[in-house]
């Protein structure tokens, strides 16, 4: 039991050092604060805050140390076979069951007893981020192209919807398609020159592209309305059937047709089902694409570009298609967002949105579609739930991103499952990496 003994002096010293560092760090920011007075800045002190911060760090570090000691002891005592990964088929089955449950829950959400306008709004928000993250998952998770400016395609979709709808005079669903295509077209034009860049350079160029898009939207007043925003003339609807209180010319009114009374919640429920159908369609399409040669070439490219090239895969075509597919889904989400809000402004498309979407993809475990759904719900709902701590929620959110990464660097669900197995009968040789033999059956 020597491994289990608590090394108290070491832990105390460790926590003491951390507390000392915290004291040093806390003095300028928590201890002192500049306040504007008549002529300049004066300094006020808050030493109680420093004491609290140091105490929190000391205790936190101490408990963390004990916890990690205990965990290490427990790991050492556990027999080796208990650590063997669960069977791949079981994991696949669990994923499938979870997927079905999630879809049923999503379908039933408007009829749940706790359902309200707020719940519908949250549902729409979660769906928007699921669609965005599904798009980015194609680019980052499947093709391995790190994109830090994904919000650009979200913005392009939203503004394409708002700018083109009055010109073309089309309804909601055709506008969705057009917005997605416009975003994809932008992606193709952008990606042709930059896709030969290596990972991190690509990341920074896409980041720059995201910023450029936002700056252009903010400054091109005549086209986009600039910082004042743009009104969106279409609302989510089905062909020929409107869910607004007063339907536009040439469209049937849902409430006249069914005799139901108009309410904001009912309208949102209709939006919700339309969007849910779109999102499910998108997830299904990506799932199918992964099994086609083009989808497999994305994943192969992520694993080893040079091997792909020597096998005759055209890396440029493959990357451009992945980039454009992701951008198209982003554009769809943008168009829906715009139509639902009835208004867009550049403020909705800042870098923090790109970071959120990327965080969803990475937290969910790259390439995992179920992971994306879970992470999107988590990331969107956590700040919404913590409204009481409104001031602190972004602080907590940042800290949570670090902690989750430190705890699970591969994301919450991080199995790299191949989309296709060539033969089920051949057993992998003993000692082969388990991830090679796992995965969904085709």
């Amino acid at each position: 039991m020597a491994a289990m003994s608590l090394d108290l002096p070491r832990r105390l010293r460790d926590a003491g050092l951390a507390a000392l560092m915290a004291l040093f760090l806390a003095v300028p920011f928590i201890g002192l604060r500049t306040v504007a007075d008549g002529s300049g800045l004066s300094v006020v002190t808050r030493w109680d805050g420093v004491v609290a911060a140091v105490a929190v760090v000391f205790l936190g570090r101490l408990l963390l140390g004990f916890a990690s000691d205990a965990l290490a002891g427990w790991r050492a005592r556990r027999p080796a076979r208990a650590r063997a990964p669960a069977s791949a088929d079981a994991a696949g089955r669990a994923a499938r069951i979870f997927g079905i449950v999630a879809i049923l829950f999503a379908l039933a959400l408007p009829f749940m007893p706790f359902s309200s306008t707020n719940v519908m709004n949250w549902g729409l928000l979660v769906l928007t981020y699921i669609l965005l993250a599904t798009g980015l998952n194609v680019t980052v998770g499947l093709a391995g192209l790190l994109d830090l400016g994904f919000v650009a395609f979200y913005a392009i979709g939203a503004y394409a919807c708002g700018i083109l709808a009055p010109i073309l005079g089309l309804g909601f669903l055709p506008m969705m398609v057009i917005s997605g295509l416009v975003a994809a077209a932008f992606a193709v034009v952008l990606s042709l020159p930059i896709l030969r860049l290596r990972g991190d350079y690509l990341a920074i160029v896409t980041l720059g592209f995201g910023e450029i898009t936002r700056i252009v939207i903010t400054n091109w007043q005549s086209l986009t309305g600039g910082p004042n925003g743009l009104r969106i003339p279409v609302n989510p609807s089905l062909p020929g059937l409107s869910f607004e209180r007063r339907s536009p010319d040439g469209m049937l009114n849902f409430y006249e047709l069914t005799g139901l009374r108009y309410s904001g919640e009912l309208k949102l429920t209709a939006y919700y089902y339309i969007f849910l159908a779109i999102v499910l369609l998108a997830i299904w399409a990506v799932w199918k694409l992964r099994r086609l040669p083009i989808g497999r070439s994305w994943e192969a490219l992520r694993e080893d570009e040079i091997a792909c090239r020597s096998l005759g895969i055209n890396p440029t075509a493959s990357k451009v298609s992945a980039y454009a597919t992701g951008a198209m889904l982003g554009g769809l989400a943008g168009c829906f967002f715009a139509a639902r809000q009835g208004f867009v402004s550049p403020e909705s498309f800042t870098f923090i949105e790109s970071a959120l979407i990327l965080a969803i993809v990475v937290l969910g475990g790259m390439g995992s579609q179920i992971g994306v759904v879970i992470a999107a719900s988590f990331i969107v709902l956590l700040p919404e739930m913590a409204r009481e701590f409104a001031d602190y929620r972004m602080l907590v959110f940042g800290a949570a991103m670090i902690l989750i990464m430190v705890w699970r660097p591969g994301g919450l669900l991080s199995t790299r499952e191949p989309a296709l197995r060539l033969s089920d009968k051949r057993q992998p040789p003993p000692g082969a990496s388990p991830s090679l033999s796992t995965g969904a059956t085709p």
Binding site: F24, F29, G40, M366, M394, L395, I402, V406, P409
Partner: protein
């Protein structure tokens, strides 16, 4: 006279651009050193610079309250204080958010860095307030280099100070990297971390010191931006960090002279574009240049080409 005024205007932009470029260059060195040694974009580096600026505001205010107002003395003290605290923040950021993630792919540290960036921004906003902080100018006055009928070419003392400090720091850093054991250890870790560890270099300590050095330079940039513009807020780190990273990539990431050259170019592009074309699109210009350079010369201006081996 018209030609004279036009030339004066051009030279004024050159001076302003070089000053701005010096600040970007100092921040860019932090990005380039960290990227060189652990191949990650330290996304929180812009926030480290912002912290440097806030410590400077605090230190200037405390000194003013203590009655120390003589510019050279105050500046030296503030530089020291800001470097000490900012370096501590830089060290802590690496220890908390990056060290546990060493050897776990490229995306996990990047996400962790983005989380750290969000955390630090909100930390400063909550503890220091969201409103911009305005400071009395520390160094006033300047030299009128050229006096025209309706245009004066000025080199302010603060610009002179910024450029002088930057040049001095660059010289000191070049010596540090090229001549000292620490610099040798850093270059060794940059080339091959495993081999360096086998030869007895404490890799973790070297990486920590790299963060401390990067943060110290960012602190100097923060102090200088505080006294140059006089107004800062908790969000200045984002755009400055982005441009400094652009500068680092432009100059060739991993290369110290490259970072300085890149910073200078970004500063000049920004100054000239603002004056001659459009202020609203100045950031578009900087990023467009970045994209062009990367497409035409992916390893940056002074970087070594990165050959991918199988």
């Amino acid at each position: 006279m018209e030609i004279g005024a036009a030339l004066g205007f051009f030279l004024q932009n050159l001076i302003n651009g070089v000053t701005l470029g010096a600040i970007y260059g100092l921040i860019a060195i932090g990005y380039t050193m960290v990227y060189g040694i652990i191949r990650m974009i330290n996304f929180a580096h812009g926030e480290i610079y912002m912290i440097g600026a806030f410590v400077a505001v605090l230190a200037f205010s405390v000194l003013a309250a203590a009655g120390i107002t003589a510019a050279p003395l105050a500046l030296i003290i503030v530089l020291g204080i800001s470097i000490a605290f900012t370096a501590a923040y830089g060290w802590t950021v690496e220890r908390v958010a990056y060290r546990p993630l060493r050897g776990s792919g490229r995306l996990a540290p990047l996400i962790s860095a983005i989380g750290m960036s969000i955390f630090l921004q909100n930390y400063v906003m909550l503890t220091q307030g969201a409103r911009p902080k305005a400071l009395q100018p520390v160094i006033t006055g300047g030299i009128d280099l050229w006096q025209g009928p309706n245009f004066t070419l000025t080199l302010s003392y603060s610009q002179l100070f910024i450029v002088a400090v930057t040049v001095a720091l660059m010289a000191a850093f070049t010596v540090l990297i090229a001549r000292t054991p620490l610099g040798r250890a850093q270059r060794a870790c940059e080339q091959d971390r495993t081999m360096a560890a086998l030869l007895g270099i404490n890799v973790d300590r070297t990486i920590s010191l790299t963060f401390v050095m990067g943060a110290s330079l960012a602190a100097v940039a923060g102090v200088m931006v505080t006294m140059y513009y006089g107004v800062i807020d908790f969000f200045i780190g984002f755009l400055a960090g982005l441009k400094a990273f652009t500068a680092a990539v432009l100059g060739g990431i991993g290369s110290l002279p490259g970072a300085m050259l890149g910073g200078l170019l970004i500063g000049l592009i920004e100054a000239f574009f603002t004056s001659y074309v459009s202020g609203a699109y100045k950031d578009v210009a900087a990023f467009s240049v970045l994209i062009l350079v990367l497409v035409l010369r992916p390893s940056g201006l002074l970087g070594r080409p990165d050959i991918e081996k199988v």
